[in-house]
Symmetry: C2
Subunit: 127 residues, 2 copies
């Protein structure tokens, strides 16, 4: 089995997001969201889904009608791939540089800050 390293493109990501948010959905539903976001045609949505099916970015259950599509990767996996890509392309492969920038970009709550601290502790222990 050859695993696909390529990142989801812009529209593909938009569709994945919809699936992540709403769970497995028929085209009709996916389309209504996509249409709301950018006014695309129904055919376009169907086509994108068939392309994504080929690329194995989504799967579908063909037994029920209308067919139900679901994301083939979690939000977490997609995010990590994109992070790895960003780190490579911009931060010379040094992820910590990105972490620092991302922190500065964020407006974390106390709770979130605490969570990150705990994560740091764990990473230190696991040496």
């Amino acid at each position: 089995m050859t695993l696909d390293n390529s990142l989801p493109t812009a529209v593909e990501l938009q569709i994945l997001r919809i699936l992540w948010e709403h769970g497995p959905s028929p085209v009709r539903l996916i389309h209504s969201r996509l249409h709301a976001e950018k006014g695309t045609n129904y055919s376009t949505t169907v086509k994108m889904l068939s392309v994504m099916l080929e690329k194995q970015l989504v799967t579908r259950d063909e037994n029920c009608s209308p067919m139900v599509y679901r994301a083939a990767m979690t939000r977490g996996i997609a995010g990590r791939r994109m992070i790895r890509n960003l780190v490579e392309k911009v931060y010379d492969g040094v992820a910590m540089n990105l972490v620092v920038h991302a922190l500065k970009e964020s407006k974390p709550t106390d709770k979130e800050l605490e969570a990150v601290r705990k994560l740091l502790d764990e990473m230190e222990k696991r040496k």
Copy 2:
């Protein structure tokens, strides 16, 4: 003045990286790096630079010959834009989710961990 929100494309980023690493450079130098990385033609490099000039991703000094190109934005700015984009597109606008993922992606040294802790402290204070 209209500010451009669009992100650098793949090759644009490759060229920006070269400029970030080597500082202001003539086409010849930029090309030799780009060629080493992916075997592109000299014309391609020139063309890309002219496109990037239009998009204001680079500037150039036309007084000297050969002309000298320089990145119009820092690595930091570019990185932040791309982070913002990633956070929007994948993490529902919640940057901390990205921070956590990015941390897990990284293999930080003690020093780096310490730096992040300090950053967290500062962010806490600045409330």
